[in-house]
Amino acid sequence: MTFGFELAVALRFLREGRMQTALIIGGAAIGVAVIFFITAVLTGVQGDLIKRVTGAQPHVVVKPPEETVAPLVAGSGEASRLASVQARPQRLTTIDGWPALARATEMTEGVIAVAPVASGSALGIKGDASRSVVIVGTELERYLRVVRLDDKVKAGVLQLDPGDALIGIELAKDLGAVLGDRFRVQSASGVSEVFRIRALLDLGSRELNRRYVYTDLRAAQSLLGIPGRITNLDAAVRDIMQADIVAARLRAQSGQLIESWIQTNNQVFTAIKNQDIMTLLIRFFITVVVALGIASVLVVSVVQKRKEIGILRAVGATRRQMLTVFLLQGVIVGIGGALLGSGLGLMLVSLFSRILRNSEGEALFSLTFDFGLIGIVVLAAALLGLLAAVLPARNAARLDPAQAIRG
């Protein structure tokens, strides 16, 4: 079946109704552009937010289970019962046999990288200055696949040989240290060691910048008094929004305590989800408005073209052919609007990417020219146009030719 005749008539009808066609394609284009734009802005804003929140944090952390006090209950019933169970102060708990757990975690669906971490608090000392710090001892090469530190380096190089440390920029300021300086770290148990500052990091928040000291795993282990053991495994997941699901999966297969960034930043995550729902609603209503616009213009067009429809029917066009003529008009308007709207949307995005900036003055979103997305938009718009044209097209097909010609 060819659409030669139907397509030719549809195109001519659209060209003939110049103003109407321009208006409705324009309307559809604006709708598409707005959808395009808010999607880009939202993606940018959320991406920025997530980056900020999770910047120096792993997506998922595997920790040893919290130590609880098991109430001793002898016999059944009458024996002594404890009236209250007091939580135990938490010591530095560690994971034994972590290499096996790390391998198991790495094999889990959705996990892309795992790094062992020995972490605990200590004191950073240089001269008279001393600051409370968080020691993060790890194998740098593995850790970089979990948390991207490379884009956070303000000065120096990412290198963690024994005796090296990477510290937050605020901490360096507080200690009055510069790149290459040495400073001492002393743990609560009194062990102390000297580190050389190999890099200054901007971890995205003042608090982190003031406290974090990255060191070699072994050094941290000996500082914290847990040789050969680690305090947690840090993992990165493929889809950050699915971190919860991966966490649940890990929880099911290990006896460890699993925390995802979503849990630890629940408000942020809820805000992002709510934004998603809002924009979904906005996009939905824009779509409905565009569809109604296309439908109403075509309804008017059918009335205006009554006589011509009647003539075509009289000289042999079938109802189905008239139906197709108007369905095609809907599809063409949809596609035209989508193409124009995508262009307009890209223009808006490129314009606003220069205006909208985050607190650091970086562009909130980048202009990504995604042909796949445009393809989807065009396809969706074609379908939308088709659906919008159903009612008017049926009106056209049902016209009685004798009455239509009589006028």
Binding site: G4, E308, V315, R319, I405
Partner: protein, 239 residues
């Protein structure tokens, strides 16, 4: 009649608003036969039912009763698609106000019926050629690419005639084809119809108010109050 009739109406009735209080019977049982190649005038006062009869013959209106055989087939039982197909295959239409599609050129207007089912009509190129020939034959070889509004009323009606003939119909139904044209133009249009009738053997039924034109047809059917009041052969006076 010697040959099998192209059209045979038996007791054809048409009632508007059937079943409603304002129902009105417009055609009260028409018996009419049209032979292939006949050149017939349908005359009668306004409101006599000429247009209704023409529409019924053209399968644009469904008869309320009686029987209609077109080219040997009982079309009263046809559904919409079958009627559409029969219109396309057997009939040609010339309307009073030419009714060309303003968005298409003269040539495209003539081609349109053929383009609806291009394979049956020999493909787009054959249709284009046939349409061009017809426009040439009606004297519009130079106006093929003009839009209807660039043409005079007489020229538009010539395009409409070419369109009605593009698929070689067996019967052309013309509703006052010269109704809104001046005498001179109207004469030349009429001559054109006469010529095609002679050359291609297409039967024509022409509704007209103009007794001068009717007098130049082979047969005159007169309709009065929805009934055939007179049906007589006519020897056309030499033009």
């Amino acid at each position: 009649m010697m040959t099998r009739p192209l059209v045979r109406l038996q007791g054809l009735r048409k009632t508007y608003n059937e079943g409603l209080p304002n129902a009105e019977e417009v055609l009260h049982g028409i018996d009419l036969e049209i032979a292939p190649g006949e050149f017939t005038a349908l005359i009668g006062p306004s409101g006599s039912g000429k247009s209704t009869l023409l529409n019924a013959l053209g399968l644009l209106e469904i008869a309320s009763g009686g029987r209609y055989e077109l080219a040997g087939r009982d079309v009263t039982v046809f559904n919409d698609d079958e009627r559409t197909r029969a219109r396309h295959e057997v009939l040609g239409f010339i309307f009073q106000f030419h009714h060309l599609l303003p968005a298409f050129t003269a040539l495209e207007n003539v081609m349109l019926p053929g383009l609806m089912r291009p394979r049956e009509s020999g493909g787009p190129e054959a249709i284009r050629q046939r349409a061009a020939e017809l426009l040439d034959a009606v004297g519009l070889a130079d106006a093929m690419d003009k839009k209807p509004q660039q043409l005079s009323g007489g020229m538009q009606q010539r395009v409409a005639i070419a369109r009605s003939l593009v698929l070689d119909p067996r019967l052309v139904l013309a509703d006052e084809p010269t109704g809104n044209l001046d005498t001179h133009t109207s004469d030349s249009i009429f001559e054109l119809l006469r010529r095609f009738n002679r050359e291609s053997g297409t039967a024509l039924l022409i509704v007209t108010h103009d007794p001068r034109l009717a007098a130049r047809c082979d047969r005159i059917v007169e309709l009065v109050d929805g009934r055939i009041a007179a049906d007589r052969p006519n020897t056309p006076a030499a033009a």
